[in-house]
Symmetry: C2
Subunit: 404 residues, 2 copies
């Protein structure tokens, strides 16, 4: 029996690792056999029935182990470990978005050279099988754009801001920290870096385009505070990532966005993720599922473990993409950090941007290019693209009418 099962080495035993182990040894025990689990701190793991080891190398040198699951996270030691595993002709399943976003191309190439697989469904969209869909089912639909809510933590925060109007922004951020959704330094989520990395991976699978995460324009959610709170009414602010094709040109963007009440993401709340793939041949394809958590992420790891036996079609790299980032954004809401009003207004005037003040230091800008907006970003507390006339009708018209 044992020999028929695929032999797995698991590196990492945090929230995701524990759930992967649990699923492999219960519902999937007929298919898989976990020979070793590499951990860093054995004193934190009192379980005696789990085959722990503190040596990552032992997983690589064990000839019985066919597939390695990496759920350590971060660049090192994960990078060296995965490289060595591939060089030893072991297939690798990883949930490491950071590593794949920055080193995916190199590691994919190495895996192909070695005739093994490198799969990372769990790195994007939590439980949503987006990479599998982009690789297989959706590639024939001629993809025009992919837009997503890709960060569960910020969606959880935006949902709380909207559903608990009496709590302050700081209070909700503190709850997110207490629940482990945000690090002590929340930059990775709130500044959109996590989303940049995921969008890089999506860009590869949707378009065969190699982006560098740091080059994707991103507008931060970091400065969002109580004066902006009115924007969260009706739960219509979403932190969106988008990559869009026009001919051979691709543009990508991460930006807090006010969506219309009829938008398919309107009910996507809490830690859920959503991905809308707009296609030439079949219109919008929507996928929604839990974006975070041990079990949902473990499910994506499991899906990869099964997929390893079924070599998937290669990504189409035939298009030589032009990357463009300076598109105009349409209506944008800005709040200017205190003391910076003059500076920002003079800059807006200089760029001939039409704006209407809607409060002491809040502005609705009629149309602004992304490059101007990003150059202003350090002086702005928040910029939200306002594509929705509905919102203007329901809330802003009165204030606009006063201001105009």
């Amino acid at each position: 029996m044992k020999n028929q099962r695929k032999c797995i080495g698991l590196a990492g035993f945090g929230v995701v690792g524990r759930h992967v182990y649990e699923q492999l040894t219960t519902v999937h025990r007929k298919q898989f056999y976990v020979k070793a689990v590499a951990i860093k701190h054995p004193d934190r793991h009192p379980e005696t029935d789990i085959p722990f080891t503190t040596s990552l190398d032992s997983l690589i040198w064990d000839s019985e182990i066919e597939v390695i699951v990496e759920v350590i996270g971060g660049i090192q030691p994960a990078y060296d470990f995965i490289r060595q595993a591939l060089l030893h002709k072991k297939s690798v399943v990883t949930a490491n978005k950071y590593l794949i976003a920055y080193h995916g191309n190199e590691l994919r190439k190495l895996a192909a050279e070695q005739g093994v697989q490198l799969l990372y469904e769990a790195s994007v969209g939590g439980s949503i099988p987006i990479l599998s869909a982009l690789n297989c089912s959706l590639r024939h639909h001629q993809i025009r754009s992919v837009t997503g809510i890709l960060n569960g933590s910020t969606n959880f925060i935006l949902t709380a801001l909207s559903s608990q109007p009496n709590r302050s922004v700081d209070d909700i951020l503190q709850e997110a920290r207490d629940k482990g959704f945000l690090e002590a330094d929340p930059s990775f989520d709130l500044k959109g870096w996590d989303i940049q990395q995921k969008l890089t991976i999506i860009a590869w699978h949707a378009f065969g385009c190699r982006l560098v995460p740091g080059e994707i324009p991103v507008l931060s959610l970091m400065g969002f505070s109580d004066p902006d709170r009115f924007l969260t009414r009706y739960g219509r602010i979403k932190y969106l990532a988008t990559i869009c094709r026009e001919g051979d040109t691709l543009s990508s963007l991460v930006i807090p966005t006010l969506i219309e009440d009829t938008h398919p993401f309107i009910r996507v709340q809490d830690e859920f993720n959503a991905i809308l793939v707009d296609t030439e041949y079949s219109g919008g394809q929507l996928l929604v599922g839990k974006g975070a958590g041990g079990h949902p992420t473990a499910c994506s790891v499991l899906a990869d473990l099964i997929a390893i036996d079924h070599r998937l079609p290669d990504v189409d790299e035939s298009v030589d993409w032009t990357i463009r980032h300076a598109q105009p954004l349409g209506q944008v809401y800005l709040r200017v950090a205190s003391g910076k009003e003059k500076q920002v207004i003079s800059r807006l005037k200089k760029e001939q941007v039409v704006f209407r003040p809607i409060g002491n230091d809040q502005y609705v800008v009629r149309s602004i290019s992304l490059s101007v907006l990003m150059s202003l970003q350090t002086d702005l507390a928040l910029a939200v693209k306002l594509p929705s006339q509905l919102f203007i009708e329901s809330h802003l018209t009165q204030r606009l009418a006063l201001a105009v």
Copy 2:
């Protein structure tokens, strides 16, 4: 070049067939080569550059053809044709839900014996890659239930009823007929038979359970008419199919349903389909996409054509399911066909069903078993399950208050 391409025989050149041909010969021409297209009526196809044949057999006997795409529809001649193709060791891709729902098990077995593939993603959910997701990505999530809007025609009609309140039901049905969404005899869609067939296919892929379409309980949308029109306000009536697991018991049902305003299907309009897979490990997974049309269906055929080289994991048939159909339904709205009032009321009383009249011959029943409801069905114009308290608040409470 030609020899590197997969050689395809296409059977059928209707709406779907044309779009499959178009996609194969344009964006996918590097991968595929359509050697022959079998049609019934050559006089209806004036195109001279398409390799037409009137002989289905010629596709089977052509040794160069590796894969046959069947988009004829119906049981015969499709059944004999696909059987022969499989016996001649050709893989088959089909969009034929009717055939797969009734003969899928036999044909799947034959394909496995012959070492070829039988794929039919296009038979369910239009452009939504639901079978691929159930086979691969979602099977590790431990599926609890699958609920869907699986019929684009009836969803189009329900959307029109809701969005065009001044038009009569008959008028909207006529428009659906004129647009080709409904046959002259609309039973197949309105009585839920189309949905029964699709649900049978989903039951197989989600649970490895072999259902017979005709045995799935179905409540018809056929008798829906102007007195029921108030139910369509806010677009909250959806014609739902559901299959649900409790331990080793499965229950399935096709029923017009009033969904809550927060339900993920609330924005699924026109001919769109939606499928919600509820899972043990990752909660709800939602997929939404176009449910009908030439291009969307052709995309699913194309996805199968690519997947043919990547043998998918087998469906898990290990559970010996008990099928249960007589669950209680909770709150149900009934309208009784004129002249049948006494008969229905006496039957409800005999079954000790508690009900409240809300009009001359309309009732809200507090709880009723499915078997009683189905036995009454011929005497009822419509039965809609009302799971939503919201609706009661917004509309029915006033009428109920008058009636109680």
